[in-house]
Symmetry: C2
Subunit: 379 residues, 2 copies
């Protein structure tokens, strides 16, 4: 194997596949990165067996030459050293070659590295997905869906199914739902009309997979092709192949959690409310769950928290509108801050159904994004 | 006590005094910050008894009003909460007041905090230094002196005196020396002629104190006034008062460590050498001490490192000049990187006196900065 490649492109691809590489895996060869020189370009693979990522650097793209002097072949090198070496090389191009002892030579300017590698034949084959269940989503919308839901997955393993995001597709509408049983986040979009035949209701994608995927998909990628088969889900862009296992088990029915009616409705500036709750939570850190109180007043919300040994805080947040019953409610400041952070609109709507019932919030003009939070009993 | 103050100025002063506050101190009240409202402005104090910092915010400065409506008084508030509250307040000004129960009220816009405080009378008095041993150094030169030496202090407590920087003044010349017994860094400057009578040889300032001081002195400070008395050293700028204890004990004589002659001299681009050693050290991380080898060749240096289980690296660094005997030497890449990082000139001079003797390096045109590194025996 031999090739000369643009250092920055190689480094970017390495950073992508490194997202799947873990130093703690049962199969030792998976601590390495597989490098394949193909006639059409260079393919890198990283995997921890839950997630597998392939990144391809084409020989040429848009008239630009990325890779030269390719002699085909493959090798596995240690992920602990290889990316850091590439990052620190002195020139913009690097020559990589291997010998039949699985030793890799890296040359750039006055710098020459020899790294012990392993036979690429020993690297596990990635499964090939056979499925007709493929559909496409625009990359920016898809990244939004991840960002608006994945933070709400459970981080504890007591109910493993809740560590994933539930993907549902029905009647041309695709929804992501995540809940840790104290709060819920959901986002839905209309799919392109080509995909109205696609239907899923119990696909649960590990939150970690989506979080990593979100970091890799970039703005040069136009669409993400999603395919589901057996226990795997595949996300593909032009030069990226991201495969994740799915979570086993039945995702709970979440629709009935969302209250159909509301007793108190508030319209308020998103940022003002977020900052007031953030401040009110400063003194609530010692509390279990970082709980703050909210009380509706004539034309403002009063948010407060009291930790006797430290002190007490009261925040007044002027509202645009308050309708319905007056209300006193307590909730986790952290959940409320998480929910408000993903609202990009100037105004947020909050709908309460009494002090003991879950409440929902959404951006004023976008009901496809919905957040639900369970209150905490303190009154 | 009561005053209205510019939030950003208060926050900046708080960040300064917080450098002296530690959550783990023997005297509980020192986990707090003392705030004094004086007729002339607001004084903040933080201390862990090793370091004490006072920061003063004048009522007015350069025609700008910083503090208004001052009613004098004082209080101690918990450092864990107060700075974070100030940082997150909604408006640019904040009103602070106290009642006779030592409760502090902080009001800014719709935000109102009540914080439990303590009687400022219980806060320890800072010692007042009585000394004629005062002298001045320009703030930028003084920051350079710290940066160029403090990294070389020992981080282990086996010889506590080596955790400090030795300040020597003799014949109008001031020097900082730091060593951890494996490497040494020194920097000297000429003092202003007003201070030729000042003389010190065994002042040892804790490295931690200088590192914190370096973060606080900013570019608006013109000169630093330094005073020594008993076991304390005081650094003063216009609005800052930084007091540190000195280390007890006799600092070792370091002058005789510096070789008088050299057998091999090299002139080389600082950055090129630094980057080559940084790369060579990538594979040496598993080694004890991160050791690399250097070998002089006709017109270049060969730097290499070999970790059999990982691989091997060779770097060729073209030199401007090599004079004297040919040489093979091994040393800690970390010490060499630390030393080269503080050389800001394009070229660095390295003088060797054989493979087993300490070697020195300095910027081509500034012999007031000197670094010494002990080699490691590997050949």
């Amino acid at each position: 194997m031999k090739f000369v490649i643009q250092r920055d492109l190689l480094l970017e691809s390495l950073q992508h596949v490194m997202k799947a590489v873990s130093p703690r895996v049962a199969v030792p060869i998976l601590t390495g990165i597989k490098i394949e020189a193909l006639p059409t370009g260079i393919k890198l693979t990283g995997s921890d067996s839950d997630i597998s990522i392939e990144s391809f650097i084409p020989k040429e793209e848009d008239g630009l030459v990325h890779v030269e002097n390719i002699e085909t072949g493959s090798i596995v090198v240690q992920a602990k050293y290889f990316p850091e070496i590439i990052r620190k090389l002195p020139l913009k191009t690097v020559e990589i070659s291997t010998d039949d002892q699985y030793q890799m030579t890296i040359v750039s300017g006055g710098s020459e590295f020899h790294l012990n590698g392993q036979d690429a034949m020993e690297y596990p084959q990635l499964p090939v997905l056979h499925t007709d269940n493929s559909f496409e989503v625009k990359h920016d919308i898809f990244k939004e869906m991840i960002k608006q839901t994945v933070f709400a997955v459970s981080t504890v393993e007591t109910r493993p199914i809740l560590t994933g995001v539930n993907m549902k597709i029905d009647n041309g509408e695709m929804a992501f739902v995540a809940t840790d049983s104290h709060r819920l986040a959901s986002r839905s979009i209309k799919l392109d009309s080509d995909f109205v035949h696609i239907q899923f209701d119990n696909i649960v994608i590990p939150g970690k997979s989506l979080a990593e995927l979100n970091k890799i998909i970039d703005d040069t990628d136009d669409a993400v092709t999603i395919s589901v088969a057996d226990n795997q889900i595949l996300f593909q862009t032009k030069n990226l192949y991201f495969l994740s296992r799915l979570l086993d088990g039945k995702y709970p029915e979440t629709n009935r959690l969302i209250p159909a009616e509301s007793k108190t409705s508030v319209k308020v500036k998103t940022k003002t409310l977020l900052q007031a709750i953030d401040r009110a939570s400063l003194l609530a850190k010692e509390n279990r769950n970082n709980v703050v109180k909210l009380e509706t007043k004539d034309n403002f919300l009063q948010i407060s928290s009291n930790t006797p040994e430290v002190g007490q805080v009261t925040e007044e947040v002027v509202t645009e509108e308050i309708n319905g019953e007056s209300l006193k409610i307590s909730f986790s400041a952290k959940y409320m801050i998480d929910a408000l952070r993903i609202v990009e609109e100037e105004y947020v709507m909050v709908h309460f159904t009494g002090a003991m019932r879950p409440f929902v919030l959404y951006p004023e003009n976008n009901h496809d994004i919905l957040q639900l939070i369970l209150p905490v009993r303190t009154y």
